[in-house]
């Protein structure tokens, strides 16, 4: 699957000018509100006609302003999961799902409605009216409805933004399952980095209508020069790990390429491949192995690069085996330690800094 987007669109306040390609797996469109994420999503689905440009999906031209091609929304076969679900209120859950299935193309095997319902945990909701569903249930039904029309591409436009924190954490495992089922490529629009770090393979970083960066999620998130764009409090690398076991004290041991991490997090099976997001602000750097310290995680590392922003902080990339960790420290400290690329040091992480929501099931291709 290849989606190519090259569009320009004049908008109130700014001009959108976006060019990128998306492949298999989950591609996140990331940026603050007003960056143009949802506008791009609407242009791909056909709900918005850009001023100028070209959009293709698997070599089929969906939109081309030069030749005047614009495939109507209902012929694009691009599923959309909206922030507000948009279930049809006059139909019950089963009716909403049937609406999706009704327009699925005839050729090829029909999607297994029961398997999709099971994957999203909505089997018991079939006779419910949409007004009686919780926000999370609505979103799961909306996803199933979109999948049943056998989309060539699934766009999820801030699907969790309307849910509160615990509900988000409830629904994320379903999205991981959907991603790992691998049936349909996904464009995932979000301003929440925690979701992107857990779900996406690639990401497109947007700011004020412009594409700032396109790349692998692990690569983009561990790049110190991206910290100002991502936000100093949100920045943090994503590491691939495997669950090694549980300590007597209840901490889960995760094997990473550069050693072992001990983090809180119950209910993960031994041997399970996970991805874990470690916020840059939760990582300390020491030149010597510290002693008499409460931290459970002290790992040898090598400084790979530094990025000084406008503020008092410095983002430091640390090589940890095959993985890269990001630390954010003050410029003073960086000067005092004389941090420079190639310097050996120790990365220190407070175990409790890693929230359970920051540990997710690893997806396709180990990432």
């Amino acid at each position: 699957m290849t989606l190519t987007v090259d569009i320009r669109h004049a908008f109130q306040g700014f001009d959108l000018n976006a060019t990128f390609e998306a492949g298999v797996g989950v591609t996140a469109l990331f940026g603050p509100s007003g960056a143009g994420k949802s506008t791009i999503a609407a242009a791909i689905s056909g709900l918005l006609t850009p001023d100028v440009g070209r959009i293709t999906l698997n070599d089929e031209v969906l939109f081309d302003s030069a030749t005047g091609v614009s495939v109507p929304v209902h012929r694009r076969r691009i599923g959309v999961v909206f922030q507000d679900g948009r279930l049809f209120p006059h139909l019950d859950v089963a009716g909403n799902l049937a609406f999706g299935a009704r327009y699925a193309p005839d050729e090829g095997p029909a999607p297994d409605a029961n398997a999709i319902a099971r994957m999203l945990g909505i089997e018991a909701l079939m006779t419910r009216r949409t007004g009686t569903l919780s926000g999370g249930e609505k979103q799961r039904v909306a996803i199933a409805r979109a999948l049943l029309m056998r989309p060539r591409l699934l766009i999820m436009d801030e699907p969790l933004a309307a849910l509160d924190g615990p509900r988000k954490d409830d629904i994320l495992p379903y999205l991981e399952r959907l991603r790992d089922a691998g049936g349909v490529p996904i464009i995932y629009v979000s301003h929440a980095l925690a979701e992107i770090a857990r779900l996406a393979n690639q990401m497109v970083v947007l700011r004020a209508g412009h594409v700032m960066r396109v790349g692998d999620v692990t690569e983009v998130l561990s790049d110190p020069s991206m910290v100002p764009l991502i936000g100093v409090r949100e920045a943090g690398a994503v590491l691939h790990a495997r669950v090694a076991g549980v300590d007597a004290g209840g901490l889960t041991r995760l094997t990473i390429s550069g050693g072992t991490l001990r983090v809180p997090g119950a209910g993960m099976a031994e041997g399970q491949a996970v991805r874990i997001r470690i916020l840059a602000q939760d990582v300390l750097i020491a030149l010597e192995h510290p002693r008499g310290m409460s931290s459970r995680n002290i790992l040898p590392a090598v400084v790979e690069g530094l990025h000084r922003g406008d503020g008092p902080g410095v983002a430091v990339a640390l090589r940890l085996g095959d993985d890269r960790l990001l630390a954010r420290i003050t410029a003073d400290a960086a000067d005092e330690l004389a941090l420079r690329p190639g310097l050996s040091c120790f990365a220190i992480l407070k175990a409790t800094a890693v929230a359970r929501a920051d540990i997710g099931i690893a997806g396709l291709a180990g990432g």
């Binding site: 929304v73 209902h74 012929r75 948009r86 049809f88 209120p89 609406f99 949409t130 029309m149």
Partner: protein, 228 residues
């Protein structure tokens, strides 16, 4: 209980009103949809035109109908060549009743369309439903109670329509004498009071029932749109 002339008036009114509502409903839905969902040049003018029968003296509407659809009228002479005569026939009464009820029908249906989130129609399109399919499968079922409410109101208005009807099709017993025309006629003759009173009670019951039913249906729209 009712005398033959009274029965004839009641049955004629029911026939005229039913035909008027059935014929006016499709254009009323179309106009309501245009007014609710589209912004175009002449939007305000169309809205005003639709509401005109509501504020114009009914006798003026009747006279305009006579001018247009009478045997010598622009449209009437054309229709007469095809063998369709409206003036002084029950079909003309249905036309007058339909036009007088049209604004009420459009209003009720327009309100129910405006209560439907257009984003639902977008969602239907992303699922593969074309514009017409989306309208039939999403919008139409959601506004069904609103359409019924409009039909009931239009029917009640048609049952009570007098001024335009008597001007356009006169008051011919058995042919164009509807319920209100009959009441008027009974009041003109000595000893007709009892007949008039019976028809007045009948007309009141029909009108009251129609308004109550349409209110109830309008509430159904809200519940339906809310998915309860």
């Amino acid at each position: 209980m009712l005398e033959p002339a009274e029965w004839a008036a009641l049955l004629l009114s029911l026939k005229v009103s039913s035909v008027a509502v059935i014929c006016a409903l499709p254009p009323a839905i179309a106009v309501a949809w245009l007014l609710a969902r589209r912004r175009f040049w002449g939007h305000g003018a169309l809205s005003a035109l639709v509401h005109l029968p509501l504020v114009l003296p009914p006798v003026v509407t009747g006279y305009l109908l006579l001018l247009t659809f009478g045997r010598n009228g622009a449209v009437g002479s054309f229709l007469a060549e095809m063998g369709i005569v409206l003036a002084f026939r029950w079909t003309g009464a249905a036309l007058a009743a339909g036009i007088m009820g049209f604004p009420l029908m459009v209003r009720a249906i327009r309100l129910s369309i405006e209560a439907v989130d257009p984003k639902l129609e977008e969602a239907a399109a992303t699922l593969g439903a074309g514009r017409w399919a989306g309208f039939c499968r999403v919008t139409l079922p959601l506004i069904a109670p609103g359409i019924l409410a409009g039909a009931v109101l239009g029917f009640a208005k048609a049952m009570g329509e007098f001024g335009a009807t008597i001007t356009f099709v006169a008051n011919i017993p058995g042919q164009t004498q509807t319920l209100p025309s009959a009441i008027y006629a009974f009041l003109q003759v000595p000893g007709g009071d009892a007949s008039a009173l019976r028809l007045v009670v009948l007309a009141t019951v029909v009108a009251l029932g129609a308004v109550l039913i349409s209110e109830w249906l309008a509430r159904k729209v809200a519940a339906r749109v809310g998915g309860i």
